[in-house]
């Protein structure tokens, strides 16, 4: 009897651990990272006390905290955000920048951020989509602290000391889609994504619309991995898409090396995301989109330091795009297969998007034939993500329903 009990117990432990492994492990590494790494040793709390009084959140911050959902060198999203935090440190020598990697998107994030606040941080950047709820909790508990979140959208009333910000990722993705549409020979493009969140759906749609704009026959096949970074799932997704005849692969994942290398090895082309990974695919690199957060992070910090956060454009769901001239999401370098003609077309489109155009300039038709954007309509940034509620025509695959 004993034996059987043991077997069942061990099996249960094994399965629970397997199903929850990412959580458990993230907790562990978050805990070990908690004595947050210091990027710039600098001013002590004294600076904060000496700062101009007043109750504006973020004023006189001596420390700025950043939390990342993954490690700071993932060849992708977290690395770009970390580089942004370093830029803040470089531009503000008197401010101490504290960072924590591998912070899961749950109550652990609340704990890590509260620790940063307790240590004197008055401006907090929560840089992952799922960090929003913990971030709002911190904002509610600490009215003197500015909490900004990267990539999500606050629905309902926006607290005076909180906000979200992001680049308009779909703009460079649309341009990359144009490149993909022009280089594909099979007219089948592959898009590997993590979760069907509005930002990702907008990306997939922009990619397909960009490809269609230069190649009406181009279709985008989508596969999701339900994980921001599970290289084995990425490898399987890549090989499934390649088996379907896809000859240009792109992705919306946090770690990007596996898919890039899988494409290169299979002799198909690849479009990057988050970071310039052209070194991983010297043959097949077409182009991509990458982050440059420095200017935006610094402007948010400066706005908060000046006591002007509340009521500013950052005290909102702030989306910055080409129209403002400072999209933190920029185009990567082109590979050799992109002709001068295509590059010129893309440059022209960039100019149009920067002035009067939009990747989602109507008419945009969903898979089921309904109009997502009316004919002649040029949607504003605020509405684009929320109105991308369905895949557009030309995307092959369905949005998974939970």
């Amino acid at each position: 009897m004993k034996i059987r009990r043991l077997g069942m117990l061990a099996a249960a432990v094994a399965l629970i651990a397997a199903a929850c492994s990412s959580n458990t492990t993230d907790n562990e590494s978050a805990a070990s990272d908690e004595p947050a790494a210091t990027t710039t040793p600098g001013a002590t709390a004294g600076t904060g006390a000496a700062a101009p009084a007043g109750d504006a959140p973020g004023v006189g911050a001596a420390k700025v905290g950043f939390i990342f959902v993954g490690p700071k060198d993932d060849f992708g999203y977290n690395q770009a955000a970390f580089a942004g935090s370093e830029a803040v440190a470089a531009a503000h020598p008197d401010i101490e920048v504290i960072t924590a990697e591998n912070v899961p998107e749950d109550d652990n994030a609340t704990r890590v951020m509260q620790k940063m606040v307790d240590d004197g941080a008055k401006i907090i950047f929560a840089t992952s989509y799922g960090h929003l709820d913990p971030a709002l909790k911190i904002a509610a508990d600490n009215p003197d602290v500015v909490v900004v979140q990267q990539g999500n959208v606050i629905t309902g009333t926006i607290p005076p000391n909180a906000g979200t910000y992001f680049g308009t990722v779909y703009e460079p993705v649309y341009l990359a889609g144009m490149a993909a549409g022009s280089v594909t020979e099979s007219n089948k493009l592959g898009f590997i994504y993590a979760f069907p969140i509005p930002q990702t759906i907008a990306n997939i749609n922009a990619f397909e619309l960009g490809a269609q704009s230069v190649n009406p026959d181009a279709e985008t096949y989508v596969v999701n991995t339900s994980n921001w970074c599970d290289p084995a799932k990425q490898a399987e997704a890549a090989s499934s898409l390649i088996a379907q005849g896809v000859d240009v692969l792109t992705q919306h994942q946090d770690c990007t090396a596996t898919i890039t290398k899988a494409a290169e090895e299979a002799g198909v082309m690849v479009i990057g995301y988050h970071a310039d990974a052209s070194a991983l695919a010297p043959e097949g690199w077409v182009t991509g989109s990458e982050w440059d957060w420095a200017a935006l992070y610094n402007d948010i910090v400066d706005t908060a330091l000046a006591g002007e956060f509340t009521g500013s454009k950052y005290n909102a769901n702030f989306r910055v795009g080409y129209k403002d001239g400072a999209n933190p999401f920029v185009q990567s370098a082109y590979g050799p297969m992109v002709t001068d003609e295509t590059q010129q077309e893309i440059a022209d489109e960039l100019e149009l998007i920067s002035s009067t155009g939009s990747p989602f300039a109507g008419p945009v038709t969903a898979q089921d034939g309904t109009l997502l954007f009316e004919d002649g309509e040029v949607p504003v940034y605020d509405e684009i993500e929320s109105r991308n509620s369905a895949f557009v025509e030309g995307v092959i695959g369905e949005i998974p329903q939970g």
């Binding site: 651990a17 290289p231 090989s239 770690c255 596996t258």
Partner: protein
């Protein structure tokens, strides 16, 4: 490629790392020690293989490094369980976190490193067998090694003298002791060999399957391996079948999606775990009698021979 053959091909490709780890865990459990640190050994193997392959440019040196790293981590487990009488399950979990922490720390430099990787090799005659040729024989070298390993391991466990000693160590260690054979040494070897095989599984993940090192990249596959071992009753052929079953369940989702099928993604993601749970429920009762008695030691006062 048809859906079925694509899923099965993906099942072997994706199941191989689990297969290695589960075969290793079978050896360990045959000797009477459960090692929940398998996941950690896989992580160590994945990093060591990737790092050594990147530095040396030699894939097989990478595999060897993966085996050594996986074995070293399992040695920690063996020491605490066998020599210090610690609880097997708790120690295994601690060892897992040790492996996770070590690889996160030392792995930083290799996230961006470029390493050579194993490529699929289409075997000349075998590859042209209808149906199974493209599924089984257009894989990478480590997959082929695992094909050979399964029968070899079966022979070692059931037909060799060492296998008798191993099973005796797990079932009736007092018999070995009475015959003047050191149980401890056999169990140490079993755990370390198990860890080495898990390390090779990790190596397959990093330098063959995903072509990258990334923190926590094993993502629970080590625990799946332990579960596979339980429902396969530590028998190598069944272990391999279980690993491929799990691999196929993982391959099903992208294969369906890339064909544009509308499916409930979240239900599909649960399939591998549901399959494993069902197998455990259905087979668990019957298999219980075959469980090496040494595995129950966790509930007894440690009796180290």
């Amino acid at each position: 490629m048809s859906l079925v053959s694509e899923v099965l091909t993906g099942g072997i490709r994706g199941g191989t790392s689990i297969n290695y780890a589960a075969l290793g865990e079978s050896v360990s459990e045959r000797g009477g020690v459960i090692n929940l640190g398998t996941e950690g050994s896989m992580l160590c193997g994945a990093l060591a293989a990737y790092a050594v392959a990147a530095e040396s440019g030699n894939l097989w040196l990478g595999v060897a490094a993966g085996a050594v790293a996986g074995g070293l981590l399992s040695l920690v487990h063996a020491y605490f369980v066998l020599s210090r009488g610690a609880n097997q399950l708790a120690t295994g979990l601690v060892v897992l976190f040790l492996g996770l922490g070590l690889t996160s720390m030392f792995g930083v430099d290799y996230v961006q490193a470029l390493a050579p990787t194993f490529k699929p090799i289409d075997l000349p005659i075998l590859g042209s067998i209808p149906l199974i040729g493209p599924i089984m024989f257009d894989q990478d070298a480590l997959v082929y090694v695992s094909y050979v390993l399964v029968p070899v391991l079966w022979w070692v466990i059931y037909r060799s003298r060492w296998g008798v000693l191993l099973r005796a160590a797990g079932e009736r260690s007092e018999v070995l002791t009475a015959n003047g054979i050191g149980v401890l040494r056999i169990q140490y070897i079993a755990v370390v060999v198990g860890g080495m095989m898990a390390g090779v599984g990790g190596a397959h993940l990093s330098i063959a399957y995903t072509k990258a090192w990334f923190e926590n990249m094993v993502q629970g596959r080590g625990f799946v391996a332990v579960a596979v071992v339980m429902f396969a009753a530590r028998q190598p052929f069944k272990v391999a079948a279980g690993a491929y079953l799990f691999g196929s369940a993982l391959a099903l989702s992208p294969a369906l999606q890339s064909r544009g099928y509308g499916i409930n993604q979240f239900a599909l993601d649960a399939v591998p775990y549901v399959v494993t749970l069902l197998a455990l429920i259905l087979l668990g009762r019957r298999r219980a009698n075959e469980t090496p008695e040494g595995l129950s030691k966790v509930f007894d006062a440690p009796t180290v021979a």
